[in-house]
């Protein structure tokens, strides 16, 4: 084990900035080859950023979700795939910290995540018509005494092969209703993954989100003690939407920075003349500020509600979190498109300082990652009874 002291003495954003430097050097290669961002992950581990949100009593640093979101923004500017891997891992950590403390097995896992800088994957999506409807499962835990077994036809498990453990949702037992779910952590030596599909996609290629038949065996104590319904409603949905939005915002920020440098270079060549792209830079900056405001207000709402089940279970909270995800996923495409118009062919081409292809392709995953249509469907249902709060003071 490396000494934690010297690294953790610098600020989280300094540590994340060092990781981003390495991640950005490899981002195009990771994208081109659709391979796992291994260099970024080694850097994250070297900077001991895997367990920062875990309480100090288990070896973490008590980082807030806002601080972790800020790390995602920094990583998002460097490599969308590496940022997404980090964000998804932190979503699992948030569930473990909030809903498994008190369970000895999970507390040991939290300690191991900090000591060994373990990477945790997630298998919620399922074949057989479940898709991204994560509040339903077909697969079920089979138990025999203390032993449990689980087989899941998982359509997408990001970094499945690189994970040190995977958190899997399923029905509680063979007779349970589709929505009566639990979440179970299986360690790498407790499961096999039989690949069923290959992640050759438009973007987010380095997340290596292949499909697998997951087959795991473990003991009952590995099941998270709280029902998944509660974990999803109070933590997972909000944390996913906030951390995803943070890194998507980071992708748009980098696209913006590239187009701004493009315009600045043109302005330098012809002093006294406003370059044609300048107006679009202003438009993009305007949109970027709206996205930032949206994410910042969501994080504030989350931090205020944290630890208060009534606030986290409120319909108005769910509506707000859904809106942040849907809004960010749409707006980043508009921003990057502005940037593309600003940079022209230099943005469209790969391998220039102004290239935007990877940004645009990565950003296109945002609307599908839990389909916006599905989310809007849920929101519209809640809006049959919920009235949005117009107060600016709230």
């Amino acid at each position: 084990m490396t000494a934690a002291g010297p690294v953790t003495a610098s600020s989280l954003s300094d540590r994340a900035t060092r990781v981003a430097k390495s991640a950005s050097e490899w981002a195009d290669k990771v994208d081109r080859e659709a391979r796992f961002p291994a260099e970024a992950l080694s850097a994250l581990k070297a900077e001991r950023l895997m367990g920062v949100m875990i309480p100090a009593e288990f070896g973490g640093e008590n980082a807030s979700l806002t601080e972790v979101a800020d790390i995602c923004v920094i990583l998002g500017q460097a490599c969308g795939s590496a940022a997404m891997v980090y964000a998804m891992h932190q979503i699992q950590i948030a569930s473990l910290c909030g809903y498994a403390v008190g369970s000895g097995w999970h507390e040991d896992l939290l300690r191991r995540i900090c000591d060994e800088q373990l990477l945790i994957g997630s298998a919620t999506s399922e074949a057989g018509g479940i898709g991204g409807n994560l509040r339903n499962s077909i697969c079920a835990i089979e138990s025999e005494g203390d032993r449990i077994r689980l087989e899941k036809d998982a359509t997408v498990i990001s970094y499945g092969e690189a994970s040190d453990a995977i958190m899997v949702t399923s029905r509680r037992h063979a007779e349970a209703a589709a929505g009566d779910q639990v979440s179970t952590v299986f360690m790498k030596d407790q499961y096999t993954l039989e690949k069923t599909s290959n992640w050759d996609t438009l973007g987010m290629r380095g997340t290596c989100s292949d499909g697998f038949i997951f087959r795991g065996e473990g003991s009952k104590e590995q099941i998270l003690p709280r029902p998944f319904a509660e974990i999803a409603a109070q933590s997972m949905l909000a944390v996913s939407h906030l951390l995803w939005s943070a890194l998507w915002y980071g992708i748009a920020v980098d696209a913006f920075n590239r187009s701004q440098s493009f315009v600045k270079a043109a302005a330098r060549k012809n002093p006294g003349q406003t370059p044609p792209g300048a107006l679009r830079v202003a438009e993009a900056a305007n949109l970027l500020q709206q996205i930032k405001g949206n994410v910042v207000s969501g994080l504030k709402q989350f931090e205020q509600a944290k630890g208060n089940p009534d606030a986290l279970n409120a319909m108005s909270f769910a509506v707000a979190m859904n809106n942040i995800k849907v809004g960010t996923s749409q707006s980043i495409l508009t921003v990057i498109n502005h940037c593309m118009l600003i940079c022209g062919i230099m943005g469209y081409k790969n391998g220039t300082p102004y290239s935007l292809g990877r940004h645009l392709r990565d950003a296109h995953s945002a609307q599908l990652m839990i389909s916006n249509d599905r989310i809007l469907g849920n929101t519209s249902n809640m809006l049959l009874v919920n009235k949005p709060d117009p107060s600016l003071a709230g």
Binding site: R135, A177, A178, G179, D180, P227, A229, A233, P309, D310, N313, A314, M315, S316, N378, N381, M382, L384, V385, N386, K387, D389
Partner: protein, 83 residues
């Protein structure tokens, strides 16, 4: 009130099990109540009792059991009698 809640739950809850099998304090989400169905049930209750659920009761907890729904309704109708 309990009977009407159960009747409307049976009609709008889309539960995979019969409402008779669900005790007053059983967790309805565990029994298969989806968030979609919970809103449909809420609308049916509003229509039947001619009330409107206030913001602070638009919460998963208010619909977590038959008991909780009855308590929420009692609060609303009580408020209205007091008004």
């Amino acid at each position: 009130m309990n009977d009407i809640v159960r009747e409307l739950l049976a009609k709008h809850g889309s539960l995979p099990v019969s409402v008779d099998q669900i005790s007053d304090d059983a967790d309805l989400y565990d029994a298969g109540l989806s968030s979609f169905a919970s809103v449909q049930l809420m609308l049916a209750l509003e229509e039947h009792f001619d009330v409107e659920f206030p913001e602070h009761l638009l919460n998963r907890k208010s619909f977590s059991s038959v008991e909780a729904i009855v308590a929420a309704l009692a609060e609303i109708t009580g408020d209205q009698q007091a008004a």
